[in-house]
């Protein structure tokens, strides 16, 4: 058995082991669950050192000795101060000294809070602006003609118009937006029948949205099952063992 076959076979055993929970909770499942957790934790610790801390912190801190007459790089020993600051975070587990953990947490919170105004505008600003859509058509032709094969000027002329079909689409968007937002007005009682209708339709529209998101979630979970089946039957059995 080659190294690849052994690797694939172990993968299949682990996959089957984890899927046995579908039948019921069992020791086989527990073993592979803990094996996975241990491997992931070990990998994370190693990767943190090799991929991040060594290059970004340790090497910079200790510098580099010159080789073959080449000048070395000086070490920045002030970076050593980062270690005790980071370690202070672990004092969160100590009743007596947990105040020390507030130092690194405070630094992180301060940095994070300082970014939030800009971050909020960067994320939601363009979405708010793009929600302002025109609803009055500028031409009587119902649908926008195709622009494939047209020169740039002709395509630009077509794209500069708002066709009734696009206007209707924009109207549906804006109606949905307003109805859904009206659902979140909790400060006053909606006595007006029209306003009540808006909030009710807002709730329905939200439900439709949640349904679409749930559908996507189910599709994703199925994709993961399909991939595992592909791994077992095609990658391992057909290609790895039977060499077809």
């Amino acid at each position: 058995m080659s190294y690849t076959q052994i690797k694939l076979t172990l993968g299949v055993i682990a996959t089957v082991g984890l899927y046995t929970v579908l039948y019921r909770e069992n020791k086989f499942y527990r073993f592979f669950e803990h094996l996975f957790l241990g491997l992931a934790a070990g990998w994370t610790m190693t990767a943190l050192w090799t991929e991040t801390l060594k290059g970004l912190w340790w090497d910079v801190m200790v510098g580099k000795a010159g080789e073959g007459g080449a000048p070395g790089e000086p070490g920045y020993w002030a970076w050593a101060l980062l270690l005790p600051i980071g370690l202070m975070g672990y004092f969160v587990f100590s009743r007596k000294h947990n105040w020390m953990s507030r130092v690194p947490i405070g630094i992180i919170l301060g940095l994070w809070s300082g970014q939030q105004i800009q971050v909020w505008f960067n994320r939601y600003g363009p979405q708010i602006w793009s929600s302002m859509k025109p609803v009055v058509p500028t031409t009587g032709t119902l649908f926008a003609p195709g622009t494939i094969g047209l020169d740039k000027a002709a395509a630009a002329e077509i794209n500069s118009q708002l066709y009734p079909s696009q206007a209707l689409s924009n109207l549906i968007f804006i109606t949905t937006l307003i109805c859904v937002m009206s659902y979140f007005f909790y400060s006053f009682e909606m006595k007006n029948r029209f306003l009540r209708g808006m909030t009710t339709s807002g709730r329905w529209l939200l439900m439709i949205g949640f349904g679409a998101i749930f559908g996507s979630t189910v599709m994703m979970r199925f994709s993961l099952v399909i991939d595992r089946m592909y791994f077992i039957w095609i990658e391992w059995l057909t290609q790895g063992i039977l060499h077809r």
Binding site: L22, Y23, A40, W43, T44, A47, L48, T50, E51, T52, G55, L56, D59, V60, L111, W112, Q115, V119, W120, N122, R123, P126, Q127, W129, S130, A144, G146, T147, I148, G209, A212, I213, S216, T217, V218, M219, M220, F222, S223, L224, V225, I226, D227, R228, M229, Y230, W233, I234
Partner: protein, 324 residues
């Protein structure tokens, strides 16, 4: 002596409403397996955001460098691996260099390196064989960054400082600063790259949009569950293209095979789009992979789900009728 009461006979409603869970899982596994052994084709009309992603990737200047934030691991291999493979196939065939890093999971860089290794193997087996995509000369690995917010902020402020401490392996086997590699030699600011692409299965997508949108064109490939919420960023122009889930993978593969606004073998345009010019694909090369393989199987599993929901509801309706 009285006889014990016989077990009450199960009605159809009872049977429909109490199908054994293990049986259902068994059927699901069969349905998710059998179609994988057949070459089935499903008609496909690519989504506009994925068409935009393909058009953007195909319009990148040959020889230019892009940045890839790869934030997925084997836990979402079913969708993310297909996205990563399609994305890298396009970049490699167009000789676009890339620098990749991860800001979500320490396992992610290794998973991405595995995909590159697999694609290089595929390139050497191709007829005629294609050149290997070389680490250092064609792509560099910037490794793992433990905090997405800080990383993307630093990238927006000064890319040369954000990646300045990173080294990668040269063809001679020694380590050197990534900015001395052909990939990043001409890059000092995020504005020097024509595109930043994120392949993600996590909320780092929101973080990168918050920090980098408006400063550099952004594109994304996300999991299916993230699809609806991610599409908002495309509608608002914060990202230039998006592929979501298995459908996104199949869309990309379809355009890689047939191109955009390009006549197929029968003279018909397979993927038409008003927003883009004619873009030929890569006919005759390996374009269809995980997307085409998994997509029909996904339809079979969804059909099973709908069937089970209908059966369950019929059982419930019958049970209610019996009670009344």
């Amino acid at each position: 002596m009285s006889m014990p009461d016989p077990m009450p006979k199960k009605t159809l409603a009872d049977r429909l409403g109490s199908v054994d869970r293990t049986t259902l899982f068994g059927i699901l596994i069969l349905v998710a397996t059998i179609p994988l052994f057949f070459t089935l084709s499903v008609p496909n009309k690519p989504f506009e955001p994925t068409i935009d992603l393909f058009a953007k990737l195909m319009s990148l200047p040959e020889g230019s460098s892009v940045i890839i934030q790869t934030d997925w691991t084997v836990s979402t291999r079913g969708e993310s691996a297909g996205e990563m493979e399609a994305l890298l196939r396009i970049l490699m065939r167009r000789n676009i260099k890339f620098a990749m890093y991860s800001a979500a999971d320490p396992q992610a860089p290794q998973v991405a390196r595995n995909v590159i290794m697999q694609l290089n193997e595929e390139r050497t087996k191709a007829t005629p064989p294609q050149r290997l995509y070389e680490r250092w000369n064609d792509w560099v690995d910037l490794g793992y960054f433990p905090n997405a917010e800080a990383t993307n902020n630093a990238m927006a402020a000064d890319l040369s400082k954000a990646f300045g401490g990173r080294s990668d392996v040269t063809p001679q086997g020694s380590y050197a600063n990534v900015f001395t590699s052909p990939v990043l030699a001409k890059v000092r600011s995020v504005k020097d790259v024509p595109l930043v692409i994120i392949v993600t299965a996590s909320s780092t997508f929101n973080v990168i949009v918050e920090r980098l949108s408006g400063k550099v064109p952004l594109a994304a490939t996300v999991t299916g569950v993230m699809g609806p919420e991610s599409q908002i960023y495309h509608s608002s122009g914060q990202i230039v293209g998006l592929a979501a889930g298995l459908k996104g993978v199949f869309d990309l593969e379809t355009m890689m095979e047939y191109g955009l606004n390009t006549p197929g073998p029968d003279g018909k345009v397979v993927v038409p789009s008003d927003s883009h010019p004619a873009i030929p694909g890569f006919p005759g090369q390996i374009n269809f992979a995980k997307g085409k393989r998994y997509y029909p199987t996904l339809h079979a599993t969804l059909f099973l789900l709908i069937l089970v929901v209908v059966i369950g509801n019929i059982g419930m309706i019958l049970a209610r009728k019996n009670k009344t």
